[in-house]
Structure formats: C-alpha cells, structure tokens
C-alpha cells in the first residue's frame, strides 16, 4: 500500500512554481497524481508519473485519509479535492450558488482545474499565462488577453471550452496534453450549468507567492539597484594597492585571510599585456626593449603604445563582434552571403580604436540610420554602424512573413537584452518571465520599436526576387548606383532578350531581309535602330547604326559592378505599437502595448515619437544614467572588460545579470568600475587602462598551497588566472612566430563567394582561410567557420556570446598534430630561425643548435629554455634529422626543426598564458 503525505504534494507543487522550462509539463502531470482508478474500497494508489523519481514519505496512511475525509467517496478526483483542501482553504462566496451546483463544482470541476490548469493560471503558482487566472471566479470573468475565459451557459462561445476541445490548432489547452473526453465533458456541463463557482478570490495569499515578473518588486534585485556610493575600503597591507581597484580586491583577500600573489616577472607581464590588449605575442625585440627599460613609467608607456595600436581595436573589436553575433552569412536554413557585413566589422574595429564613447557606440549601432549628419562620410559611417541590427540570423524560406517579423524582432531583442543589459528578455515572449521582473507587456513594448523597423527587403538574389537583408548605397551617388544595380537584375531577362533580338536584326540586315527586320522592330521596341530601318540611308550606315545599338544593348545586358552598400535598417512608413502575442504565437494577437522600455528600470517609461520607430529613444535610454538603464549597462560593460582582462567576470555569468545569473563576487568593485566608466564619458579604453595598470592585473599566476586550499577557483583573486588562447590568438601567434602574419587591415574576405555562402549545389566556391591577415578578418560563415575557429571554441555567430565555451575535445589535438596551418607555420618558423642563426654567422653546425633552440623558444614562448629543455629539444632534433635523412626526405634539418617547433605550438606553455619559467613556490 502506498502512503503519501500532503506536504509532499505541496513540495511537488512548489517545484512547479520554480519550474524553469516553459510549461514544463511532466511535473504538472506528476501532480495530477494519475488518479485513474486504483481505488477499490479504501485502498488506493497514487501512481506517480512513472519517472518522477519521487518516493512518498510514509507519514500517515492514505487509507486513513480516505476514511477520515473521503468517507464513502470512491472518486479519485475527490481524493484530490481532499488533498487540495489541505492546500487550499476554501473561502465562502458572497452569493453562493445552489448547493448541488457547488457540489458539482467541488467534486468535478475544481480538482480538474487544480490538476491541469493551476500550474499556469493561479496566483499560488505565481503564473498568469496569457493574463488568465483560473483560481477564482473573478479570474475567469475578467479573463486573459483574449477576453473572458467563458460565457456561462454557452459552451460554443467559451474560449476555455474551445481550448480544451483541442479542435482549434491555435488554441489548445492544457498545452502538454489534451484532457480526456470525460474531463472535457465535465467542463462543458459546468459551463452549461452557468458555471457555478463559489471561489470569490484566489485561495492563497498572493503576497506570499510573489510574481517574479513584477517590475516593481523586481527593483530589489541587485542588478537593478542604482550604483552605490564610492567607499574605497581600508586595507591592512597599505603598501600593496596601486589604485582603488587593488584596494577592493585586497580588502576581499584580507577578509578571506588570503595573500595576493607576488608581482609577475617582466617577461610574463609583457606577454600578458600584448595578448590581452592586442591578441598578439610581443616580438623578442619588444621583450628585450621592455626588459632594458628601467624607467618607472615603462609599463605605462608600453600600455599606452599598445592601446594606441591598430591591433588593439582588432582584438577588442572582436570581443564586441562576439556579442553582436557578427557573421558574413545568414546561417540557419538558407545560408545566403552577407556580402557587405565586413563594413560593419571594420566599423567596430575602427570605433574601438577611436575609443568612440560607449553611449555613442550603442546609439549608432541601434539607430545610426536615423541620426542627423553633416557629411556623406558621417552619414555612411552611421549607416554602417546600424548594421548591428541587420547581421542577425533569420529563417528565410517557408515561414509566414508575419511570423518572420516577430522572429526578427525577438532575435534583436535577445541580442540587445543580453549584450547591453545582461537580461534574457526573450523569455518574456511567450509568458511573463519566470525569474526576472520582465512581464510580457514590457517585451512587446520593446518589440514594437523593432517591428516598426525593417531589416529585410525584396531584392534580387540568385537571379530571382527574394526577401533578404536591407541594403543602402554608400557615397554621394550611392543610392543611385544601388538603384541602377537593382534595376539591372529586375530587367536582366528583358535586356538579354533585347540583345538577342538586336543581334538577330543585325544578322537579318546583313542578309538584307528587310521584312523580317521590320517584323522584329514591330514586335520588340528598341531592338532595331531607327537608321537601320531607314531605306534612304546607305546599307553601310544602316549596319553601322545597328551595330552601335547592339553594342549598347550588350552593355545594358552585362552585369554591372556591385556598388558599395551597407546593411542598414530603416523605419517602417508607419511605426506601430505591438500587440501581445498569446503564448508567443505570432497569429494570436492580444492587447496592444504602447512602445516603451522596461518598467523595472523606468517607472514612467519614455516618450516614443509618433513618426519614428523609437530606436533613437531606446538607444539613449540604454545608457541614460538618470532615467534609463545607464547604471545597469555600465555594470554589464565594466564586467565584460574585467572578464576579458582578468579571465573571469566579477559576475561570471556575463550575459545574465538576472536572478538565474550569479551575483558579483566583488559588488563594490563592480560598482566602482561602472562608475569609472560613466565618469570617463563612457571611455572603455580608459577603463581598460585603469585595470591593466592595477597591481591586481600584474600578479603572478603561481599557485600557493594556502590559496589553493581556501579558494581553488581563485574567485577572490589571490593570483592571476591562467588563460587559454582563443583561436584567433592561437593562429595569429603561430603566424607571428613564423613571420608570415600580415598586419594590414583587410576589407572583404568573402567577395569571391556566390550568393550561397556554403558551397552547395552548383556553387562550388567555399570560404577561403588562407589569407595571411589577422584572424579577425577571416570569413565568418555561419555553419562553415574556418576550421581553427570551429575547433577552438570561437563564438557561435548565431547568438550573443559574452563567454565563449572552453572545451577540450579530440579535434583540437588532431588539429595541432595534423593541420596544414600548424605544419606550415612550424616549417616557416624553422626556416626563419635557421636563416637568422646562420645569418648571424656566430656559430655553425652542431655548435649552432643551442642558439637555434633559444631563438625558437623566444619566438614561440617569449621565454628562454632551461638547460634541460634546451637539451631535450636538441636531442629530439638530432634524432628527427636522422629519421628524415634515413627515409630520404629533403631538407631533413629543416623538417626536424619544424617538427620541434610544432611541438612547441602544441605545448601548454604556448596555448595557455602562464608565468614564464617559474617553478612552484
């Protein structure tokens, strides 16, 4: 005999409340307790959903409950009623319906509602899907976004009945599984009876089950609090901090009774600074110069030099491109090329190098097309920046255009929400957010701004008209050139026909078949020259005229150059407020919500313009520190900077500052950094500079026993984190060692591709990766990334990625051991080193081996080998050289050193940034 305890049912119900998946149905089902008949006399079994993994605690025997409460009842539903009576105290109605009607409700209807509806439609569950509550009479009378849930007495006009009948494909409830027919019959009968319902109000005090999506209550969450006041903490080791940043870090360490690590040695520091600020290693000469520089401001000067180099923007621009889900193709179902996306990529790099203030940076990306301009150059720059909204992936074929509009807006909201605010706004598309203070209404207020914006248009592609990304011409004549290009493709069949007819007219004319020429001229306008028909003229002149016309037709039929264009959004002719979509279904509009912003941040909202989408206002609001999201945006951005420089965000979930994210380890430090960012006029570069000049940044990464025991994750920063190189740095550093890296910035690296970016069908062109440029310029084809990106955890460009995954998978090992990129770079490095050492003329033959080993170590690792390392490398090279000579390979010495260099590329010392050449304490 199975026994149960009401509190266990209660506990399960709590789980429903917390259930993170949308309508996670199995738990609901397990709550339904499978009342199907195991009842015989007084014994029954509560069959839990088969896998719920829940073992009832034998507290009091169910037989007892049934005797005490159920008495003669044999209905399992009544059992549920009784259990629910424990959970939900029935309240008296003001005007109670007839007793038999109440009995019907209590016995048949209420248990059904509890079991199958309350998990999404009750105050106790904290959920009000579609705005509907079914836990009280006022709840269904008022109804949800669709209006009253039922019309007493009229089943056919009751939404609730329609929903449970499951005949309307767009309105089916419960969503996980249809009710059995007898249950539907119960509800129908109830509505026919006039829907008697004694429940005057929700049975459970709503205050004890606060709605997590309530924007007002949500303001207490740390991330929505205004930035705190500045209190640099006092520390014991007053000589350690170099800046307030260090004081905040040290205060925490002292609290935890931890010591900061020693300062990193100079080689370690310069290698770290180079990689963190430019993504490249220092050349051995740079290291030597820095080691020689004994001036007190040597580090500062080095930092400023790096911050002012083009390579800084290439490295930090790429961080932003991860967030902007930048790509050179659409991805998803139809992988069309984004031929012009590279301009946006380079705009980001340039903006970072120019230290465009973050508020301006955002404004141009969200609304660059709407901003005033003084020159065509400025207009074009702003246009290109606005490509941010357009480069997202979209389902292109087969779906409903109205669905696509909502999907596109959702994708943009998701990107902006995570990138700028660290909020998972997308959750509120189908229902109020389950964890964060974002009601569905706020989602659609924002969505209205974006659905009042177009990023797609009809264009010619692959020889036919398609809906594709919106483009605008660049330069003074840009719009005309773009128009002419589009006209060509629209008229191409006609122009080709004209050329064909013009040519036949010429042939006929040569044969002197005048009637046929006339016939052609009558049938097709503009294909026969007037002079050609003029019999007064000489044949030579007539032929000449027709030839000239054919030449013109030929020119008109040839495809023109693709004009320079930018991917650019544009406002719709009429901006419109968006309707809430019931359960997120694009074709189920509910209440219309005025365009606006998040109420958890701005109580009163902001004014939206009548004739514009509101993107300018949205962008300004995001960084508005008085009435907008400025404090949150500053926290999110400062945390990202910290994450990239230190190796781990103060909030580790860098894209999620919501309740399911992590709280900051150093909240006061985070607020300090955010405030610094705002006060510097949103200069991200200034913030970066402050952090890299801190003593915290410059710590050694060495382990020590006490630190490791007390804080193995190093969350209190008792040492520097070790860092794995990302794919861009991995590749660039190999090419840099080889001396084959070309630092010239690149424009498009996809211009040779067809409109289908992935080599499918007729189009055999595939993205190339053999450019000697920096990795940031390599083609980012969604679903066809360069292999080094794919294998080494590049950000999936389909969505915002603030924190790249760090995986350790076999393809990485296979890549390093076998890929041509690595083999070639190793060979080039070996060739370079051998030539350099031979060229120095100091040593020859075996005597030169140590010098070669040292130089290779310096080039690859910025370190000099210890004696054992040097000896090991030389021994390997000797034996490798013999091997290659024995198997008859050419240049055995070069091959041997190349194999050695590949081993260095494969080493953890190359792939993981760590202290150089220091043992454990």
């Amino acid at each position: 005999m199975t026994t149960i305890e009401p509190t266990d049912v209660w506990r399960l119900r709590q789980q429903v409340d917390l259930c993170p998946a949308r309508r996670n149905s199995y738990r609901v089902k397990s709550l339904a307790l499978r009342t199907e008949r195991k009842i015989s006399g007084v014994s029954f079994q509560l069959a839990m959903q088969k896998n719920a993994g829940w073992k009832p605690t034998p507290r009091f025997d169910a037989t007892v409950i049934s005797r005490l409460i159920l008495k003669s009842s044999r209905s399992a539903r009544c059992l549920l009623l009784c259990l629910s009576a424990v959970m939900i105290a029935p309240l008296n109605a003001d005007e109670p319906p007839a007793p038999e009607a109440v009995e019907y409700f209590e016995k048949q209807v209420r248990p059904l509602l509890i079991a199958r509806c309350y998990s999404c439609h009750s105050q106790k569950a904290g959920k009000q899907e579609g705005g509907l509550l079914l836990d009280s009479r006022p709840g269904w009378i008022q109804g949800g976004d669709n209006g009253p849930a039922l019309t007493p007495g009229d089943t056919d006009h009751s939404l609730l009945i329609r929903a449970v009948r499951y005949t309307d494909p767009d309105l089916q409830m419960p969503p996980d599984k249809a009710l059995p027919p007898d249950a539907v019959a119960v509800l129908e009968e109830w509505v026919r009876m006039g829907a008697p319902d004694p429940r005057t109000s929700s049975a459970v005090d709503a205050a004890s089950h606060q709605d997590p999506s309530d924007p007002v209550a949500g303001r207490t969450h740390w991330a929505f609090q205004p930035l705190g006041g500045e209190h640099v903490p006092a520390v014991e080791a007053t000589d350690w901090p170099r800046s307030p940043i260090d004081a905040f870090v040290l205060a925490r360490l002292e609290q935890q009774q931890l010591q900061p690590a020693a300062d990193a040695d100079r080689r370690t520091l310069i290698r770290r600074l180079y990689f963190q600020l430019t993504g490249l290693p220092p050349a051995p000469e740079d290291v030597a110069e820095f080691l020689e520089d004994k001036q007190p401001d040597a580090v500062e000067r080095l930092v400023d030099r790096l911050l002012n180099s083009t390579q800084f923007g290439e490295c930090w621009g790429r961080h932003w491109l991860d967030l902007a889900r930048y790509a050179d193709s659409n991805g998803l179902d139809e992988n069309f090329l984004f031929r012009e996306a590279w301009r946006y990529r380079n705009w980001v790099i340039d903006a970072v190098n120019a230290d465009l203030p973050y508020d301006q940076f955002l404004l141009q990306q969200i609304a660059g097309d709407l901003l005033p301009w003084d020159s065509i150059e400025q207009r074009d720059r702003q246009r290109i920046g606005a490509g941010f909204l357009v480069v997202g992936p979209k389902v292109l074929l087969g779906n409903d255009p109205n669905e696509r509009i909502m999907d596109v807006a959702d994708e943009q909201l998701d990107t902006i929400g995570k990138t700028v605010l660290g909020q998972t706004l997308g959750c509120a598309r189908c229902h109020d957010h389950k964890f964060d203070p974002i009601p569905t209404a706020d989602y659609y207020a924002l969505a209205g701004i974006l659905t009042s914006t177009e990023v797609m248009e009809q264009r010619y592609m692959l020889g036919q008209q398609r809906v594709m990304e919106r483009l605008a011409g660049l330069g003074a004549q840009g719009d005309e050139a773009d128009g002419a290009y589009e006209t060509y493709w629209r008229e191409r069949p006609q122009r080709q026909d004209n050329l064909k007819h013009g040519k036949s007219a010429l042939e006929l004319l040569e044969k002197n078949d005048l009637p046929a020429v006339r016939k052609l001229a009558e049938a097709h306008a503009g294909v026969v020259a007037a002079v050609a028909l003029d019999e007064q003229q000489t044949m030579a002149a007539r032929l000449e005229a027709q030839k000239a016309l054919v030449a013109e037709l030929e020119a008109a039929a040839a495809p023109p150059q693709i004009p320079p264009r930018a991917m650019i959004p544009g406002d719709r002719a009429k901006p419109r407020d968006e309707a809430i979509r019931l359960a997120g279904q694009f074709n189920k509009p509910g209440k219309t919500i005025p365009r606006g912003v998040l109420h958890v941040i701005s109580e009163t909202g902001i004014r939206m313009p009548e004739h514009e989408s509101g993107r300018v206002e949205l962008a300004r609001w995001l960084t508005d520190t008085d009435d907008g999201a400025g404090h949150l945006a500053a926290r999110v951005m400062a945390n990202r900077v910290w994450h990239h420089l230190i190796g781990r965000g103060l909030v580790r979930t860098v894209d999620n500052f919501g309740r399911t994210g992590e709280p900051p380890t150093h909240p006061e430090l985070l607020d300090h950094l955010a405030r610094e960012l705002i006060e510097s006029g949103w200069s991200v570069r200034t913030l970066i500079r402050q952090i890299v000049l801190s003593r915290t940044f410059a710590m050694s990464s060495r382990d020590n026993e006490s630190g490791r025991l007390a804080d193995p994750e190093n969350q209190w920063l008792w040492r520097a984190h070790r860092r794995r190189l990302g794919p861009e740095s991995l590749r660039d550093a190999m090419l840099a060692a080889a001396g084959t890296l070309d630092l010239t910035p690149m424009d498009s690296t996809v211009s040779y591709l067809g409109d289908q970016a992935t080599a499918v069908g007729e189009n055999k062109n595939r993205r190339r990766t053999d450019f000697p440029c920096r990795s940031v310029y390599l083609p980012v084809i969604r679903n066809d990334l360069p292999e080094v990106f794919d294998v080494f955890d590049f950000a999936d460009p389909h969505a915002t990625t603030g924190l790249r995954p760090q995986t350790m998978v076999a393809p990485q090992g296979l890549f390093i051991l076998n890929d041509a990129l690595v083999m070639d770079a190793a060979t080039a490095t070996a060739r370079r080193v051998l030539a350099e050492v031979a060229g120095s003329g100091d040593t020859h033959g075996d005597d030169a081996l140590p010098a070669i080993a040292d130089r290779m170590f310096e080039l690859v690792l910025n370190a000099l080998p210890e004696d054992t390392e040097q000896a090991e490398l030389i021994a390997f090279v000797r034996s490798a050289e013999q091997h290659f000579a024995a198997v008859g390979r050419e240049e055995p010495k070069l091959r041997a050193w190349a194999a050695a260099c590949q081993a260095l590329f494969a080493s953890s010392r190359f792939q993981i940034l760590d202290d150089i050449g220091l043992g454990p304490e």
Partner: protein, 484 residues
C-alpha cells in the same frame, strides 16, 4: 528542482576527463557500461563555461531514466523528402482520382482547391506475416517487413528544406539547438574511449549544415564527427585532420612524447592545473582516435559475402552500401548515434516516378543488407534503425509529373531495438494529405527515440542562459504504441 549554483567548488565538479590517463581510463571504462556517463560528460569539457551546466543532478544520477530498449541509433536520412504515397502509404482513392482536383474540404483544409491529384504508378503489396504494405520499389527491404514499424502519420513544420531539416535534426529552426545525436551523446556517452559517441556519415553541407549535427550549448565533445559530406562519394571521404600528410605515425609518436614531456614539466610547475592535465589527456585521445578510425573506415576486412549483402562494388548501390556498412562498423565499435545521409537527391519536383525508382534502387539493397547484417551479428536487437526525411511529398502534382514538399503528413519507419516490428501505426486520409489517426509530430518522434534509449525527454535537460533546455522544448510525447 535543483537550484545549485553553476559554480560548485572544484572538489565536487572536478572534471574527470582531466585527471591523469589511468584514472581517466577507469572512468571511461566504468562509463562503457552506460553508467553515470551523463554525469561524467556533463562535468567535462565545459567546466569553465559558467552559463551552461547540467540542470538536474537527480536526473543525472538516475540514468537510465527508463529501461533502455536500444543502446544506439542508426538514422538513415533521405535528403530531399521521399514521396510517402509512392513508397509506404498506398492510397487507392488517390490513384482512382488521378488527374482530378483535390477539394480542401475533403482533407480538412480551408483552401477550396489544393491542386490536381497525382496517383502513384507503383504497385503495393503486403509483406511478411504482419502484412506491412510496401511499394514495389523496395523489394529487398520488403523481406524485412516483419521487422519494420511503419509510422504513416508523421507531421512537422517547415515547408522549405532548411527549416524542415533543422527541425528534424534539432527540433528547432529559428534558434541554434543541440542535435538529436548530441543529446544522445550527452545522455549515454560513448562506449568506445577512442571514438566520439556521435558520428555522421556524409552529412549535408547546406540546409543548416553543421547545425544539424552540432552540440550548440552542450559541451563540444557531443558534436557529431563528420565523415565526408553529402556531395562527396564515401570512398573519397575523410575525417579532417585524422592523418598527417607529412609525418608517419611512428615519428609522430616520438614528437608527441616531446610535447607531453614539455607539458608535464609545465604541469608540475602549476600544481596540476586542470587545463594542462586536460591538454595532455586530449593529445593521447587524439592520437588513439587517429589509429582507431582508419581501421573502421577501411572495408578490407569484410568478406565478399558481406560486401554483396550491402551492394558494395555494384551499381547503383555501391555508395550507399558503403555508407551503411560503415554505419554497422561504427555501431559495432560502440558509437551511440550514427547518421547516414543520401545526397540531395530525393527532391522530386519533376518526374517523381523516375526519381523514386532511381533513388529507391540506390538505397533498398543497402538498407536491407544493413538490417540483415545487424541481425546476424546480434546487433539489431539493441540498435534502433530509423528511416526518414525532413518531410514527405504532396499527393498533388507539381509541374505535371512531380510532387512538392509536404510537411503535413509523411512516413518514417523504425526497426530493431525497441521498435515494434510488423506494425503499421497511424494513418493519413484517403489521399495521404493529412494524418487522421494517431498523428506523430517530429517532437514525438524525438521523444520516442530517446525513450527507446532509456532517456526521458523531459528529464534530459541542460541549463543554459538561465533556463533548462531539452530536445523537445516544451513539446513531445512518447509514442509507447510503437515501442516494444
């Protein structure tokens, strides 16, 4: 629900893939029995990725969730969409009405006219003791009729290939989600420490491409390893970077010894940094995979009789025969999820008759051979074989003699571990236009496949970006009737 922090202290979340080789081997050996692999897999690979962790430790600990009927899946993917009314779903009334318009009202459509019906030119017959209907285009497969569980009532969304392919392979089209094979790999792990758990043979490069076998937010170890791609004959297919063009394996081992010596020295200096440990273990894994894969890829050890069974070295079956044989070898070697794809050849907008004849002839004997071979080796009883495509084709004509895409109703079949052989499940209307009995949505198929493997689709979850995700999103139900 488990609300544990994404970042538990290291001792409980220590990644077992990163411990020294011997211990790691033990861990993997333990996992070969299918025990605790999800926990292991979950803790590995992505421990540095804060935003993404397994959701439910209870679910992890209770694997398998249900009794597993199969240990692995071979999915035979017919890219383009075969015509169900020409292959597995005979429709006498459709044939009788050939050339006549189809009124929407007859098949529950709001549209007045749906087009001109195109009857099937093919003869159907009942086969085996069970009497499963199969068209004359699959004579070899027909001999296995009693092994087949034919589901005639599949339906999905996406009337273009790209969207439908993504839904078939990942359950979603407008967001990037882990593929079915990745979920299976996450749930079950690999039975072979030298091979990934998910291998895809000749996958399509378009229509979602790598997304169709990607791991999305699941750890990268769960992504499918691709052998070749659809447009390349399998005999010329390679796994990228599996062999070195320049260095022979003996020399490479010496080079690897040097690498590991440098790495171990570094490791000692760092008090056992996990990333360095991981790197060391990972090179060994790569090296072992490098030697294991060529043996599997080579068909040299197969008997003439086996090759004939699959139609290898005969046309038009050679290519698909090789693919199926390779699938068997991977199944034998312990791979959990193996997909075999045809080229993009089933999209018959014109000449559906000839197209169906040609394409069926390429796959019929290889598929029958695969079922036979698996059965002889005792593998069929725990291998779930699934045949299908992204959608079916319209009963109405397109371009006179072709058929258009049709996600509303189509046929798939299953055989082997967990599948109820000799069963025809679900039904479409008289024209094959819409399901009228026991409809099975793509999400239901996914739920059912996972269930056959002992996985509850509602409990196989992964926490990412603040919520728990699963293969079937918020949908899907297990179709128990098609399972043993």
């Amino acid at each position: 629900m488990n609300r544990q922090s994404d970042f538990a202290p290291r001792d409980t979340r220590r990644c077992h893939q990163f411990v020294p080789t011997t211990t790691r081997r033990e861990a993997l050996r333990a996992s070969a029995a299918g025990f605790g692999q999800l926990a292991l897999a979950a803790l590995c690979g992505q421990q540095a990725t804060a935003a993404s962790v397994p959701s439910d430790v209870a679910a992890v600990a209770s694997l398998p969730h249900v009794v597993a009927r199969a240990k692995r899946v071979i999915f035979l993917f017919m890219w383009g969409g075969p015509s169900h009314v020409d292959l597995f779903d005979p429709k006498p009334r459709l044939n009788a009405a050939d050339g006549q318009p189809l009124a929407g009202s007859l098949v529950g459509s709001d549209r007045e006219q749906l087009g001109t019906l195109l009857g099937s030119p093919f003869r159907f017959a009942q086969h085996g003791d069970s009497g499963v209907w199969i068209s004359e285009l699959f004579p070899h497969l027909s001999r296995h009729a009693d092994r087949l569980c034919v589901i005639r009532s599949l339906h999905t969304e996406g009337s273009a290939h790209g969207e439908a392919l993504l839904r078939l392979h990942t359950g979603q089209a407008n967001l990037v989600r882990p593929s079915v094979g990745a979920w299976v790999s996450y749930g079950l792990g690999s039975e072979n420490e030298n091979l990934p758990a998910f291998v895809t043979i000749s996958p399509p490069r378009g229509h979602g491409g790598v997304q169709n076998y990607g791991s999305a937010f699941l750890p990268a170890a769960h992504q499918g390893m691709a052998i070749g791609s659809a447009e390349i004959p399998i005999s010329k297919a390679v796994v990228s970077n599996l062999t070195n063009p320049d260095l022979d394996p003996g020399f490479q081992r010496r080079q690897l010894d040097l690498i590991q010596s440098i790495n171990r020295r570094h490791l000692r200096q760092t008090a056992d940094d996990q990333n360095i440990e991981g790197l060391i273990a990972n090179y060994e894994l790569a090296f072992r995979m490098q030697s294991a894969m060529p043996q599997i890829m080579s068909l040299n050890q197969e008997t003439k009789e086996t090759l004939d069974l699959y139609g290898v070295d005969a046309e038009p079956t050679d290519n698909f025969g090789r693919q199926c044989l390779l699938a068997r070898k991977l199944a034998e070697a312990g791979v959990r999820y193996i997909q075999v794809s045809t080229d993009y050849t089933w999209d018959h907008h014109q000449k559906v008759r000839q197209g169906s004849i040609t394409e069926s002839a390429k796959v019929d004997r290889p598929i029958a051979g695969l079922l036979e071979d698996l059965s002889r080796r005792g593998l069929l009883e725990d291998t779930l074989v699934v045949w299908g495509a992204e959608f079916g084709r319209t009963p109405m004509a397109e371009n006179g003699d072709g058929r258009n895409h049709h996600p509303k109703a189509f046929t798939m079949w299953m055989a082997g571990g967990g599948a109820k052989g000799g069963l025809t499940y679900g039904a479409t209307d008289d024209f094959g236009y819409a399901p009228v009995d026991n409809p099975v949505h793509m999400h239901d198929l996914h739920a059912t496949m996972l269930y056959a493997l002992g996985l509850d689709h509602e409990r196989l979850t992964w926490r990412h970006a603040g919520r728990d995700f699963r293969l079937t999103d918020v949908y899907g139900r297990v179709v128990h009737d098609v399972l043993t």
